[in-house]
Each structure stands twice: as structure tokens, then as C-alpha cells.
Amino acid sequence: MNNDCYLYEDTFLSLLNLIVYLIKNNIKPGNIKNCQYIPNLLDHVISLKIEEDGNIINQIIQYMGPYTFRSIYYVFLSTEENKELILYYLILNGMKYKEKVLYHRNLKCVEKTIKIAKAVLHEAHKYKGFTRFKELENHILYAEIEPTNDILILISHHFQKRLRTEYWIIKDVKRGILSLYDKKKYYLILEENFTLETTLLSQKENEIENLWKTFYKTIGIKERKNERCRRNFMPKKYWKYMLEVESEL
């Protein structure tokens, strides 16, 4: 059994560099984990000093196409336990099949990649709709989310274009990461490096929230009531931060 467990620096770039290094040197890893990984008794942990090459992203895009690259990135954002190993095998096969690699759905790594990437994108899409901002006293819009996958960067990109004339903050509560937007760019920042100037809500907030709750209640047609359908499209895991349904939890 192969117990060689290779570590990377917890960044996307570092993982890609490690995988490409392993492939180039014909090393078959037993496992790949980020540096916070707590090894078990059997693991033989190996930490390589690899120079980080930013150009590697372009090389992968050129070789396997932008679509494959995006899928790789989405898998990296997921919480899948073996995502690193899946990506190793995907990139290994990508060297052979190039931009057609994702058509090889009979390969396990391809099947998994497609499935995981889809789940990540799906969750990001849901949060584009289900994220709820509150206006703080200082007119900054503030939202909290608790996504399964690390989709903060994906939705930040979306809100940067949408709410471009506003200052906003989105906090991933579970990961302790904030996304701050200053009307030009967004920045991802760790919770411990940031304190909110105020947590008081703006004067209008209560009134607007009540208007929305009224609208939500009114728009449902009682003759068509369909709880199963509602839960299907809007599972309860999203409800915690959605003011129109949080009281139903």
C-alpha cells in the first residue's frame, strides 16, 4: 500500500504546482493533503519545497482548455475529502486526453470531478439568490452565509458586478472569512483581522424587512400550497439567514 502523503500550502496555486511536479517526476502519491492535515499512524508525510510558478494556470488552460480548468478550480473549492487526489488523477489523464478529458466519463476521476464541480456551482448559484443583506447604520450592506463549499469568492464576483454602487460585506460564518467590497474591488479577509465599525442596523431596516415579509406571505397562492416543492427548491439549510422564512424554522 502507498502511504506517501504529500502536503501543499493550502492555496490553489500550491496544489497545482505540487500535482504537476508529481506527474513530471513520475511520483505516484498515496494521498495529497493541505498543511493543516493531521496525519494518522500509517501516513508517511512528505513536504516538498517546490517553487511556486504562477504560469502553471495558463499552462493548464492552454493544455486542457478553460472549461476543464474551471472544473478543477470548483473541485478545489469543495469540501470533498479526497479532492486533491481526484484532481491529481484528472490532471494526469488531462496530460493524455487534453481538452477532451472531461468527455471520458467512464473514468472515475472525471465522473467525480464533474459531479463535484456541478455541486459547487449549484450551491454558488443558490447563494446568488438566497444571500440576504441588511443595511447597517453607516449604509454598508452586510450579509452572513454558511455554505457547504467555499463559494464566497464565486458570489463575491457576482455581487461585485451587481451591487457595484454599494459598499458591502459578506461573511462566511463557518470559515471565518469576510469579503469586503469598496465600490472598486472585493477583498477576502480573515475574521480575526477585521472588526465591524458598527453592528447597528439602519433606521429603515425594520420597515423594509416587514415589507418583504408581507410580500412573501402574500404572493403564495393558498389553493396551490405545496410544501414539498418549496423545500425541494429551497432546502432548509439556507433558511437560517433568510428573513422571510427564518421564523418557520
Binding site: K100, Y103, H104, R105, N106, E111, H125, K128, G129, F130, T131, R132, F133, K134, E135, L141, A143, H158, F159, K161, R162, L163, R164, T165, E166, K204, I208, N210, L211, W212, T214, F215, Y216, T218, I219, G220, I221, K222, E223, R224, K225, N226, E227, R228, C229, R230, N232, F233, M234, M242, E244, V245
Partner: protein
Amino acid sequence: MELQEKLKILADSAKYDASCSSSGSNRKTKDGLGNVALSGICHSFSSDGRCISLLKILMTNCCIFDCKYCLNRKSNTIKRAIFTPEEVCEITLNFYRRNYIEGLFLSSGIIKSPDYTMELLIKTITLLRKKYHFGGYIHAKAIPGASEKLLRDLGLLVDRLSANVELPTSNGLKLLAPNKNESNVTKIMRYVKTNQNRKYVPAGQSTQMIIGATKESDLEIMEKSENLYKSFLLKRVFYSAYIPVNKDNLLPTLESPPLKRENRLYQADWLLRFYNFKVSDLLDEKNPNFNILVDPKADWALRHLNEFPKEVNRCSYYDLLKIPGIGVKSAKRILSSRKIFTLSFEDLKKMGVVLKRAKYFITCNGKYFMSANLFHKEFIEKNLVLEETTPSIKTHEQLRLFNE
């Protein structure tokens, strides 16, 4: 009247319009608040399981018309309200900033005259677009009977315009909506079709029909839809199961809205738009209504069993689309993958094919899923019907177990 109460009245009056989509617009915005997402985004789901993406409201529920089926008809004694343009903007912007909504769906009862009503809509949306630089999605109702100039002005401000045909035949319309005139709706659709481009109604037009208020058959309804898609390049026809809100001896009395029928019509509508089916494939004079037990595609397949089983590794894209359990996406996946390797039943499952439906109609590399003597209509039909009704059977069994 307080804003809260107005919103309640004017959302309540608007909720029967089925259209909710916020997709299909690729309008670019440079500055100001908001943009559009081509795929559309659902922001919430109401208690009836329908998506909420737009702030769906009426400008006013005052109406000079007296359509029998409508909550807002002149002869009803209900609370009436009217928004000011500023109020609509305030609610829209505040909801949009907090990401409650994708945009605005503005409709209206007809107040004073069609032109007057349309001018009110235009005034409101102009304010929203020009003064507040709102870039989000806007769907507006075109008011039948309003002038062409107003139709042009409104179309330049919004993403989607729609005018409801309301009922599938003009006889039905005459009966239930005596003030409405089919040619007025047709005029709007023709105008939008002729002028539509990147700047004018970029997300195209849609319409809605009420199902079950008059006696039309599914065949008549689907022929109407087919005709509308063909003549006016509509993006969507929405079907809305009739919900009795008024008492009138011209209206049917229903115990519950015909939701299953509505569901079948939507399924058939998809077959027309994405699966290359024609209405004449699905329904005819002898069978003018859809089978309530199995969906229209499976029903078609059962009636054309001589064309099956189809070999998924060889048959054409259009043949793949005809197989129950295979959709547009899985058909495309099959096409791209089978060039590379021969597909097995296991592979099909991974591609999102619903095998429990498809298995009766396909062969994989020459193999049929079950023993070949089970390939006959009665057996397949029985299983498909059973499969569609399975959830209710399961709960039934569970209850019995508990009782024992």
C-alpha cells in the same frame, strides 16, 4: 393608506400571473445599481413552491374591465389601491439592494384608459431607469389597446414585455372577458416580434393562458401555443390552472385547481420547444386530452413502440430526445461521450439518464435491460404508471406498517 397595506393589496392582485422568470436578457449595464443574469436567478420560493425572482405587483388594482375570472374586475367590491411611481421605485430599490429580488414585474389593472395606464407604467419605469439608474431585470405588461408609440417607449425600457391571451380560443375570451379583444393582444405581439432586438425587449415576450376556466381541450390549448411560438417567436407560454376567485354562473365550480393538467401542458410545452415534437405527434381529434397517468413523452413512446428499442450508442440526437428518461442535457452528453467509448447502462446513469424510465426503451451495445419477452406495451405502461405514482404508495405502506 400605508405602504405596507398597499403592497399587500397590489401583490395579492398580481399573484395569479404565473410568469416569474428573470432569464434570457443579456442587456449590458455600465454604471448604476444592478445587472441581469442570463440564466435568471430565483431569490426565494413561496408557500406554493413557485419561484420568487421578481417583485410582482400591480400599479393599481382599479380596473374598468369586468373579466369574469379576475379578482380585480370592476364588479367586485374589494379594497382598491394605487402606487405612486416613487413608491414603486422605493420598494424595488430597497428590495434589490438587499438581494431579495432580481428585479421588477410591473402589471396593472386598466385605469381610465389603456393609454393612461400604459403612460403610468412608462413614467414609473422611466423614473427607475433614468433617475435611479436601476439596471436590474424589468418585466412589464403591455396594456392591450394602448397606442403603438407607447408600446415602443415601454419596450425600450424593459427586458421583457408580455400581453396575456388569457384564454385559448376567442370564443372563450368573448364569454369570460367581454371587454377584451383578441386582436388587441395579437397587435402587441406582432409589434414586439417585428421590433425586437438587443435594445428593444431583449429578453423577448411571453404570454399566459388560464387552464380549466372554459371547456377547451388540451389539443386546442397546445395548438394555440404552437401557433403563438411560430407566429410571434414567443419565449414562453405560461399555463395557469384556473383558481376560482369569483362566483359566476359562467364559471366552472372546481374543487381544486387542475394542477396535474397544468403539469402535463408544461411537459408538452417543453417537448414542443426543445424536443422537436409537434402537437400533432402528441394529440389528435380522437385523443384530444393528455393522459393523466403517464407524461406526454412516455405516452407517445408507448403508442409508437415499433420505433423502440433504440440503440443509444448509434441512434441520432433527435432519436435520443424521443426516449423517455433522456433529456436535452443527457442526450448531448451521450453524443459527446460515445465517440470516445461504448456506453453501458452504468455509464448512462452517470450522465443523468433516468434509467428507471429509459430502460424499457433502449438497448446498450445490443443488450436490452430486461428479458426481451417483457418488451410489450402492457408491461411497460403498468410500470411507468406505477413509477409516477410511487411516492404516494410508499407513504401508504409506511402508515400501514405503523398501524400494525
